[in-house]
Each structure stands twice: as structure tokens, then as C-alpha cells.
């Protein structure tokens, strides 16, 4: 596989009056821009000539007269689907992003509108999925109240799945219900043919946990809004890590922060443009009771723009100062940490300090804290340097460019900055394909028929229920007198030298090394299979008879309990499950813990070995070459300590959601499919010593995929110095 050099991706955030709150007042701005379709088409054509990936049409489902002084271009707009269809008619390559909100729509309407737009544009449609943080929209849709984040995201998660199912429905055959879930029940199929892109590109933005998960799972492009490179890097790393959990590769999800670019041939001219724009902005009166002004794109309440607020921020008394005055050096001396940072930010933007000529003004500082997101002001090389730095530092895969005023700021970026980036080899000089997916390097996804999806999902859920039990269900079983034997892997009895002595009521503390492994060493590996007689004795001592249901958990995301789960099944028990989410799920659900003092009467179970298949060292090496051998250790150990040639990194932690529970089955399927588990090639799992490998194995069991455990794993492999080892992030 050839890996083309990583390239920047650019979108144009298209507010017809410009993204700067005073952009509409720039002399060459067009007062009627938002409703002049020829003008909108022309700007889109300019972006296409600059080889931009996409044009972005935002949306709000409300207007708000109070925006008119702060950001009137956000007060009204053309509805984005019909705008997009018109822009598509005037262009041929650029992707067109339409914002649509699951909270106020039905999946059938959104699916057919996007599919139709994809047909009209010959594969350039894209959906920016928002859930509507702005409460004001609820009032326009006959809602009694604005839904909270959880309600909105529960609907949005299912909405995306339903829309994808609808896109596939007309291709995958005409029988079978298209979607059935908690929020939607859709017969289907869609009345529009499958879109040229299969699935139009999905975009998402957000910083909440639910939003990050939705984006990591479903989005092809993420918009970010961090203002500093440090914050942007942290966000970038978090999203890519979450996406990996869903089996997605880094290049399958592009992270594009918003970037306001103020560029001119010279630095001085650029700063002059920045100053002039800000000069159009009225400041807030110094003392005015009442509510804060609504400011900014999303109706966020910004900080008041006046000297009094500045004084509060930087921690210096500025009584009697006026905005246009120069700032005295002593103000910098007395400023708090946030204040010093503000001076630095303003210096980067304006090149002005308390000692420069001319000096920084109070207005400069007020503007400095009023900016939203990342801003760069400079000549073309300076702006390109900024972009390249963020790109190379993995703070961005590209940017959603915010032009302060239209068309001049967009034109300046196209004509001044794009050529510099092209010369540096960071940005395309021609489109390589005609669809938006082509620009992003994404293939057209294969459709899945409703029958396959439904039967898979039913079978998945049935199998999942044989591997996992939820905290609630376990609690109900205990309350109803149907308690299974509960094994606490890693817990200890009160009075033991060290360890956790509280656990789920009536749980029995068990030990991974003592109870679920035999004596290790040499080619046996660190944790070989236990002696079956010793295991039987231990299992009987926990009060287990033939057929007794057993539940295991730990406080480590089941990374240890999974080994116990596997060993008991290997020894012939069948009704063995893991508590999904482990001890944390129990306490998160609000259930009590008790001291681990349970001493059940001995059971009578009979065990025998070999009920689950295993791989020895030779077979494991062959599996890595000829089939799929997954390595469940974390990526660090896999890359640095080394791994079996051909083994694929599949860190067991990646099976878990942020709350410690296993990911949704669909996400697990996507994850392992991306790792090469295709249902045809034989699969084995390994790790350090056959512990976390059992975690991957539990997941594959949920997915209905046959799998064998290499019990000895890396500890056995490395006992033979003649066996090859590979380091680095790739299998071989």
C-alpha cells in the first residue's frame, strides 16, 4: 500500500456577510449578500478554483433580533438545502456541506434531501450534523422545552444510523424493515436511489463527551474550535483515540479547526485590516445594568466588551481609562497570569506591546478576549507558517477558514495563502476526483441490506447477553433471589495485607494468578493454563455446582476478569458472564458495596479441560502469517517491546467506552472489521501472557466470530530467542 503524503484539507465557513461581527460593514461587503444567489455562487466558484475541499453552510433554526448589532449575518440566511442545490448547479468539484438538525427533523426527510443533493451535485453532498444547543429553536417547533444534551444525542445517535440505513435501503434489496429502534421505526425503502457517494460525507463539531463520541464514530470530518495549539492538540489526540476504538484509522477522520485568517501582502497591511474591522465594532457601555449582549455565532453570551470587564480579566484597576488610550507599561507589570497571556495574544495579532510604537491600546486588549477560536494575522508566509505548524504538530488536518469579510478576506486567502501552501507541497494543486469523498481520500462504503443488519443486530444482542450482564440486571437478579455466584477478580478478604476489601454484596474474592493460571516460566509463558484439578477444587470452594450461573468482574475494565471468564468456559462452565463496566458500573448505578466476607458452602461442579480452543507458539506464528493474530496489549508495548511478526495491534482498552463499559456491538463490529477480522480468515488473540487477550476474545464471542487464544502470548514467544520479533506500529 502506498501512502501518499498527508495533505491539508480546507473548507470555507460561508457566512455571506463575513464571520467577523463587523464584516458586513467592510466597504466592499455586499449588504444583501445572504440573499443574492449569484453572489453566493461566485464566491463558491472562487473557493473551487482554490481547490478547497468544501463550502460550509451553517444553520440555525431561529432568528434573533438581538444579534443585529453583534452579528447580523447570523440573524437570517437562506435555508441551506435549497442554497446548496443552487450552489451545486453552479460548480462541479467542491464539496457542499449542509447543516441539518436531528432534533427537529425526521430521518426520512433528511436522508432523501441529502441523497437528492448528492445526485444533483454528482457526489458532493455533505451533512453537518448538529443537535441544536441553542434553546431558542425549540420555540419555533411547538416544543414545551429545549431538550437536554442527553435527549438530543440519544436521538441523534439513532438518527444517523437510521439515515445510513435509508441510504442503503434502495440498493440493498426491497425486503426487510429499514430501521427499528427506540426513537424511530422506518419501513423504507428510501424513495431516492442510493447516493453516488454511498453515504454523503458526515461532519460534526462539539466538545461534550456525547458529541465527541458521535463524531468519533460517525463523522468523516470534525470541526474544532480551539483557540490555542495546545488545546487543539489535546482535542485532536482525544478524537483520534476515540475513533480508533471504533476501528477507524487516523486518516478516516479529519480534524479541522476553525481559523480566522487576516492576510495581506505585508504584515503591516494585515494588521491594518484587523484594526479596521475591529474599529467598526461598537463597544459596550462601561456601566450598564441588565443582561449581557448576545455575541458570536451561536448566540453564546460573550463577555462585555468594555474597560471594566478588561480590568476584571487582567486583575488591574483601570478606572478612568478609555478604550483608545495606550496601555501603560505598569499595567502589564501588575497584570495577573491571564492578563499576561492576553498581552501575548494581542501582540501576536497586532504586533503591539506596551513598549512598541505605536503602543497597544485598551481597545486592542478588549478585542483580544472577544475573538472566538483561532485567529492569525499576517503576510502570506506568516499565515502559511501558522497553518503548517498546526498541521505538523497534529493540532489539525486542515482548517475551516473563517473569512472575516466577504468576498475580500476569502479572495485574499485563495490568492495569497493557497499558492504558498501548494508550493510547500501541503495542499493539492488539482482535485484528484470529482466527489467530496475523493477529496478526503475516502472510498464509497458498501451497502448493507436491512435483513443482514437486522439479523446481525438481533444475533449480536443475543450473543452479547450470553457474555455480558448489566449492573441493573445483576442487581435485579440478586434482589429477586436469583443471585449468581459473583467472583471479584482482584478483591481480597478484610484483614488481608493489601488490596480492595469491598465489593458487590456476596461476591467472592478471587485471584488471577492463583486461581486462573498455573505455574509459569519458559516456553509455558508467564500465566499458563491452570491445573484442572486445582481449578476444580477452587471453583467448588466458591459454591459452584453444575449449571450454577457465574458473573465475574474487576475494577480494571474487565481486563483481568475476562481471563477468569475464559478459563471457566475452557473448563466446561457455560453460564459465565462478565459484569459490563465492572465494579464502576455497579457504583455508577448507585448500588452499595459490602466487605468481601462471603464464605459459601462448597459446590460439586465437575470440570474438564479443553472446552475452548487454544494456540501454541508455533500455531500462533502461523496464524499471524496466514490468518489474523490480534495483539491485545496497549499500543506502546506492541510498538516498543515488539510483537510477533504479522500480529495486528488491537489494544483491549479500545473495546471500552469512556464509562468502562463495552462499546455498542455495532461499534465493536466496525472496530474489528477494520483490523482485518472479516469472518473468513481464522482469528487468534494474544497479549503479554493470555490475560487481556481474553478481553478481545470476549468481544469476538459477542460478534459470533470463532477465535483461539494463544495462552503463552508474548511471554512464551520471547522465551525462544530464535523466534523473530518486530518493533514499530505496523504488523511487520
Amino acid at each position: 500500500m502506498t501512502t501518499p503524503k498527508r495533505q491539508l484539507h480546507f473548507g470555507l465557513m460561508f457566512w455571506a456577510g463575513g464571520t467577523h461581527p463587523a464584516g458586513w460593514r467592510w466597504p466592499t461587503s455586499h449588504a444583501d449578500a445572504a440573499f443574492d444567489i449569484e453572489f453566493l455562487q461566485k464566491v463558491t466558484q472562487d473557493a473551487e478554483r482554490a481547490k478547497f475541499d468544501f463550502l460550509f453552510l451553517g444553520d440555525r433554526l431561529a432568528s434573533d433580533p438581538s444579534l443585529q448589532k453583534t452579528n447580523p449575518s447570523q440573524m437570517t440566511r437562506l435555508e441551506p438545502f435549497v442554497s446548496a442545490a443552487s450552489l451545486a448547479a453552479a460548480t462541479s468539484h467542491i464539496g457542499i456541506v449542509v447543516t441539518a438538525n436531528p432534533t427537529y427533523n425526521d430521518p426520512y426527510n433528511v436522508a432523501r434531501q441529502l441523497a437528492s443533493l448528492d445526485h444533483l451535485s454528482k457526489g458532493r453532498a455533505s451533512w453537518n450534523l448538529v443537535t441544536g444547543a441553542d434553546a431558542i429553536a425549540a420555540g419555533n417547533f411547538s416544543r414545551d422545552e429545549h431538550w437536554d444534551t442527553e435527549t438530543r444525542y440519544n436521538r441523534a445517535d439513532e438518527f444517523v444510523a437510521a439515515v445510513r440505513a435509508l441510504w442503503d435501503s434502495s440498493e440493498a434489496g426491497l425486503s426487510g424493515k429499514t430501521h427499528h429502534g427506540a426513537s424511530f421505526d422506518i419501513t423504507g425503502p428510501l424513495s431516492v436511489r442510493r447516493p453516488p457517494q454511498g453515504h454523503p460525507v458526515i461532519l460534526h463539531a462539539g466538545t461534550s463527551d456525547r458529541s465527541r463520541e458521535l463524531g468519533a464514530r460517525d463523522a468523516d470530518v470534525i470541526f474544532a474550535g480551539q483557540g490555542t495549539i495546545e488545546a487543539a492538540k489535546a482535542y485532536y489526540a482525544d478524537i483520534k483515540e476515540r475513533a480508533r476504538k471504533y476501528g477507524r484509522r487516523d486518516h478516516q477522520i479529519q480534524i479541522l479547526p476553525g481559523l480566522t485568517t487576516v492576510v495581506a501582502p505585508t504584515t503591516e497591511e494585515a494588521v491594518a485590516i484587523y484594526d479596521r474591522l475591529n474599529a467598526f465594532l461598537p463597544l459596550d457601555p462601561e456601566a450598564q445594568p441588565g443582561e449581557e449582549a448576545r455575541f458570536g455565532a451561536l448566540g453564546r453570551f460573550g463577555r462585555r466588551r468594555n474597560v471594566a470587564t478588561l480590568a476584571q480579566i487582567i486583575g488591574v484597576d483601570l478606572a478612568g481609562r478609555t478604550p483608545e488610550e495606550f496601555v501603560d507599561a505598569s499595567v502589564y507589570e501588575h497584570a495577573n497570569e491571564e492578563g499576561r497571556r492576553l498581552f501575548d495574544v494581542v501582540e501576536k495579532l497586532t504586533r503591539r506591546t506596551v513598549s512598541s510604537t505605536p503602543r497597544v491600546t485598551y481597545r486592542d486588549l478588549i478585542q483580544g478576549y472577544s475573538n472566538l477560536g483561532a485567529v492569525v494575522v499576517g503576510n502570506p508566509e506568516e499565515v502559511a507558517d501558522f497553518i503548517e505548524l498546526w498541521f505538523n504538530e497534529r493540532a489539525a488536518d486542515g482548517f475551516n477558514i473563517f473569512p472575516t469579510h466577504i468576498p475580500d478576506a476569502a479572495t485574499a486567502f485563495f490568492e495569497l495563502v493557497v499558492p504558498v501552501l501548494q508550493r510547500r507541497g501541503l495542499f493539492r494543486t488539482e482535485y484528484t476526483g470529482a466527489t467530496f469523498r475523493d477529496h478526503l481520500g475516502l472510498p464509497v462504503p458498501a451497502p448493507r441490506s436491512p435483513e443482514i443488519r437486522v439479523s446481525e443486530s438481533h444475533a449480536d444482542e443475543a450473543r452479547r447477553a450470553t457474555v455480558l450482564i448489566g449492573a441493573q440486571e445483576l442487581h435485579e437478579a440478586i434482589s429477586a433471589g436469583r443471585a449468581p455466584v459473583i467472583l471479584d477478580v482482584g478483591g481480597v478478604r478484610p484483614g488481608s495485607a493489601e488490596g480492595r476489601t469491598d465489593g458487590i454484596p456476596a461476591a467472592i474474592p478471587v485471584d488471577l494468578g492463583r486461581d486462573f493460571a498455573g505455574l509459569g516460566g519458559g516456553d509455558r509463558g508467564a500465566r499458563p493454563l491452570p491445573d484442572i484439578d486445582a481449578l476444580e477444587e477452587a471453583v467448588r470452594s466458591w459454591g459452584i455446582d453444575d449449571g450454577t450461573p457465574v458473573v465475574l468482574y474487576d475494577d480494571k475494565g474487565n481486563l483481568q476478569a475476562a481471563r477468569g471468564w475464559w478459563v471457566l468456559r475452557w473448563a466446561g462452565l457455560t453460564n459465565v458472564r462478565l459484569l459490563d463496566g465492572g465494579l464502576k458500573a455497579w457504583t455508577d448505578a448507585g448500588f452499595e458495596l459490602e466487605a468481601l466476607t462471603s464464605q459459601p458452602p462448597a459446590g460439586s461442579v465437575r470440570l474438564s479441560e479443553g472446552h475452548l480452543p487454544t494456540l501454541d507458539t508455533e500455531a500462533a506464528g502461523r496464524r499471524a502469517r496466514e490468518g489474523v493474530l490480534l495483539d491485545a496489549r496497549d499500543a506502546q508495548a506492541y510498538g516498543s517491546d515488539g510483537h510477533i511478526p504479522g500480529a495486528v495491534s488491537a489494544p483491549a482498552r479500545g473495546n471500552l467506552a469512556a464509562d468502562g463499559r463495552f462499546l455498542p456491538t455495532e461499534a465493536l463490529r466496525t472496530r474489528f472489521a477494520a483490523l482485518g477480522v472479516d469472518g473468513r480468515k481464522p482469528v487468534g488473540v494474544s497479549c503479554g501472557s493470555g490475560v487481556s487477550a481474553a478481553h478481545d476474545l470476549a468481544v469476538l464471542t459477542i460478534l459470533g466470530i470463532d477465535v483461539e487464544l494463544y495462552v503463552g502470548s508474548w511471554s512464551a514467544w520471547t522465551s525462544d530467542p530464535s523466534l523473530p520479533r518486530v518493533t514499530g506500529a505496523l504488523p511487520s
Binding site: S63, Q68, V82, S83, Q113, S116, S142, S191
Partner: protein, 473 residues
């Protein structure tokens, strides 16, 4: 008020592969028409060259695989809002009618769709209101059941009122000038009062659109539908084949409209019409026959509505059994191409006799003489309902003028049997004849759809002088 000579209004019912059930099999039909936007734009421009009032985009919120052999043009389509926006981008004067269903939308969404389309098209947007008789749609919108007509119309009535209020929520002139520092005049932007079904705060997120109110269209024969149309619609579609019921319907709607304080000219009644025209009568009949020859017949034992061609649009099986039932005479067992003897007419029931008249009107064939009616003609007449007129340009224009002059139509929604041929031939052959007679425009008199219909631009109901003007009117 100057009284101009009353003028015809013409619309194009735009199904990509034609409205005749075998239009998609016509030699120059484009199989992929429904998804070829360049082609759709091209056909729309043909209609614009013919100075048509509008192009009409129908909609269904479900698909039905059983349509694929009977009427594939109705099985799948581009969503009409995005298609409408794209057609607007490819044209400059023709009205663009988009079908949208209050049963499955919110008023805010619909109001902004149309306001935006009206801005984009510079005043050519139009809303065909349907309430969704098709129960299949309910299954695509997480509904437990298909709503009753009353429930749908209760919602639709308030829906339309709410949409109009949203269109009015920005008065004309609410957009200010940049010099004032304020982009808008807040005193001219209004909120809405809550209703019974909907509670919509407003204002809309778009200034008032070029037409003020995009043109509203409606079709239907039920009491609720007639009331909605008479109250709210600027144009009404009908589908009468015979002139007598068409005249009765026409008179009824105009009378109802007057009860709502509207004049007869405020509401245009447009029956559907499939013109099959050629330079000579003989050529036109040959086209009609050829279209019908593409229709495969059902086996004789097919049950109505369940045959291979059965579907909601045309539930009758195409066979002699159906013809026997409709004509009231047993005609089974005959060869399709045999001539029908005159005795069959004598034995037929009233419907049958009327259909014999229709066969002759369309094909010029009779029970005696040179060109004779065959059993195939009976099957087609009994099972295929196309509101056709067949003839040379003068004959087709005569038909149109007859309805126009006799209180049956203010114009027609033209259902081209096949596309683009039937659109092109109408524009080339019939339009000049209508223009020559002085009953159809030779050029557009204004840029908006309301201009084509001769309708003034309504004032916002929130405007201070609104009530005053209403009184004067």
C-alpha cells in the same frame, strides 16, 4: 381596474419519463431522467420557452416496488425542494412548484424552505399542499398509524396559516442599511401567537421573500380539501376527464372562494390534460396507439389490484375481463385485434357507452366504416386513465379553448405522455396556435410566478397599513 383579456395558465406536470404508463418506453425517453439534473433543467427550459406559468414537482413520501412495471416514473425521484432549487438555477422566469406535506413537516421548516426558494428563484417559488393520502408514508415516519383525513386537514389548515404568518413575520423594509449600524429594524420583525396545533414563536430567519407569499396550489375533491383550496390556494388542480363534472367543480370552488372574500380571478382552476399532438390528426392518433401498444396486458385471470400491473394509481387489470365489467358486456374470449361489432355498443351500460364515445374522440375509430374499434381499444379505455386530447394543433387548441370558454378551466396542468417529445411538440405546435387566438401570453409580463397568475403581492399582515388596505379593497 383595466380588464385585460382573460388568459390561459399552463403548467408542466414533470415526471422525468412522462405521465403515460408507458411513456418511459417511448424511443427517445431517457431511462435515467429522474436523476439527470442537466436533463431536467433542459426540459424545464423547453417549458419556459413555451412561456408556461410553472413546472410542477410532485412527491410521495414512500416508494412502492409494485410501481416498477406500471409506473416506474412514480417509484423514485429527487426530493423536490433540492430539485426545485436546482431547476431555479437553470431557468429565469418559470414558476417552480414543490409539493410538501404538512402531515410530516413542521411549519417553520416549510416556511423557510419556501421563503428561501423564493429568494433564490427571485419570486418563482410555489407550494403544492398535499396532506398525504398514501398510508405507506406513515411507516416511514415512525407513526403507529396513518392519520384520518380530518386529522390531516385539521393540521394542514393551521399549518398553512402559521406558514403565512411566518412569511409575514418580517415586514417589507425590515432590512436596514449598513450606515445605520443596525442591519435590521426590530420594530418591523414580529413574533407569532401560539395556535391550537402549533406553537411557533417566530420570527422566520429570512426577510420577506420576493412574492411575499409564494403561490399556493392544492388539489382535491373532498369537502375539507375544497375548503382549504377555496380559502388558501392560488391555483387548484383537478383531474376531470369530462367537461360536465369539471364545470360543476369549477363553479363550486369559485363560489366557495367568494365566501372567503376572494374574487373568482383570485383562484385559477387547472384540470390535467395530456395533449398528444402532431402536425396531422393521423400522426397524432398513431402516437397515441403506439404508446398504448407498449402496454403489456394482464392474464385474463388476474384480479383487480393484484395483477402484475396493479398499483394504487391504476388498480384495474388490463384484460378483457376488466373491459367486460366496465362496459357491462361479456367480451372475454375475443382476440384483441378483432373488430368490435355494433351490437356491443347496444348492449353496453351507460359508462360503457360513454367510453365508446371517448374511444372515438381519441382514436377517431368507430364501430363501422374505415377505421374500426378493436377489443384492444376497449381494454385500454377500461383500464388506462389518461386525460388525453389527441389531434392536430388546431384540434388540441379547440379542446383547450372549449374548456376555457365554458367555465371548466382557467388553464391546464399539462401531463406530457412522454418526455421531452410531448413537451416539445406542445410548445412548438399548440402554443403558437393559442397565442394566435389571443388567449395565451406571447411573453411573460413579469418575473414572478404571482405576475404570471396576475396576482398582486400581498402586504404583510403585520404591516401597519394592512388592515386599512384590506378595508379599502
Amino acid at each position: 381596474m383595466t380588464t385585460q383579456k382573460r388568459q390561459l395558465h399552463l403548467g408542466l406536470m414533470f415526471w422525468g419519463t412522462g405521465t403515460h404508463p408507458s411513456g418511459w418506453r417511448w424511443p427517445d425517453a431517457k431511462a435515467d431522467a429522474a436523476y439527470d439534473i442537466d436533463y431536467l433543467q433542459k426540459v424545464t427550459r423547453i417549458a419556459e420557452q413555451g412561456k408556461f406559468d410553472f413546472v410542477f414537482l410532485g412527491d410521495k413520501l414512500a416508494t412502492d416496488p409494485s410501481l416498477q412495471r406500471s409506473n416506474p416514473a412514480q417509484m423514485s425521484r429527487l426530493e423536490p425542494f433540492v430539485a426545485g432549487a436546482s431547476l431555479a438555477a437553470g431557468t429565469s422566469q418559470i414558476g417552480i412548484v414543490v409539493t410538501a406535506n404538512p402531515t410530516y413537516y413542521d411549519p417553520y421548516t416549510i416556511a423557510r424552505f419556501f421563503a428561501s426558494l423564493d429568494h433564490l428563484s427571485k419570486g418563482r417559488a410555489s407550494w403544492n399542499i398535499v396532506t398525504g393520502a398514501d398510508p405507506d408514508a406513515a411507516g416511514n415516519f415512525s407513526r403507529d398509524e396513518h392519520w384520518t383525513a380530518d386529522r390531516r386537514y385539521d393540521r394542514a389548515d393551521e399549518f398553512v396559516a402559521t406558514v403565512k404568518d411566518l412569511w409575514d413575520s418580517w415586514e417589507d423594509g425590515a432590512r436596514g442599511a449598513a450606515e445605520n449600524e443596525a442591519a435590521f429594524d426590530p420594530a418591523r420583525i414580529h413574533r407569532l401567537e401560539p395556535g391550537t396545533v402549533f406553537s411557533v414563536a417566530g420570527p422566520l430567519d429570512a426577510p420577506r421573500s420576493p412574492q411575499g407569499h409564494p403561490v399556493i396550489l392544492h388539489a382535491g375533491t373532498s369537502e375539507r380539501s375544497r375548503e382549504l383550496g377555496a380559502r388558501d390556494a392560488d391555483a387548484i388542480f383537478t383531474s376531470h376527464v369530462f367537461i360536465e363534472p369539471a364545470r360543476a367543480y369549477y363553479a363550486d370552488i369559485k363560489a366557495r372562494a367568494r365566501r372567503y372574500g376572494r374574487s373568482a380571478e383570485d383562484i385559477a382552476i387547472l384540470p390535467s390534460l395530456t395533449p398528444i399532438v402532431a402536425p396531422s390528426t393521423e400522426e397524432a392518433v398513431a402516437i397515441f396507439d403506439r404508446l398504448n401498444s407498449f402496454l403489456a396486458f394482464d392474464p385474463e385471470d388476474a384480479i383487480d389490484g393484484q395483477g402484475v400491473f396493479g398499483n394504487r394509481g391504476s388498480a384495474r387489470s388490463r384484460n378483457l375481463a376488466t373491459a367486460s365489467k366496465v362496459f357491462g358486456v361479456d367480451v372475454t374470449g375475443h382476440a384483441h385485434d378483432d373488430f368490435v361489432p355494433p351490437g356491443t355498443y347496444e348492449a353496453a351500460n351507460d359508462d360503457g357507452r360513454r367510453l365508446f364515445g371517448e374511444i372515438t374522440r381519441l382514436t377517431r375509430r368507430r364501430l363501422e366504416g374505415g377505421a374500426r374499434i378493436t377489443y384492444r381499444d376497449l381494454v385500454i379505455a377500461a383500464s388506462v386513465h389518461v386525460p388525453a386530447v389527441v389531434g392536430n394543433p388546431v384540434e388540441v387548441a379547440d379542446h383547450i379553448q372549449h374548456w376555457f370558454d365554458n367555465g371548466a378551466a382557467d388553464g391546464f396542468n399539462l401531463f406530457p405522455a412522454y418526455v421531452p417529445g410531448a413537451v416539445q411538440s406542445f410548445v412548438d405546435l399548440v402554443v403558437p396556435e393559442l397565442q394566435r387566438r389571443g388567449i395565451y401570453r406571447t411573453d411573460y409580463s413579469g418575473p414572478t410566478f404571482r405576475d404570471h397568475l396576475g396576482l398582486p403581492r400581498p402586504a404583510s399582515r403585520f404591516a401597519p397599513d394592512y388592515t386599512e388596505k384590506r378595508k379599502q379593497a
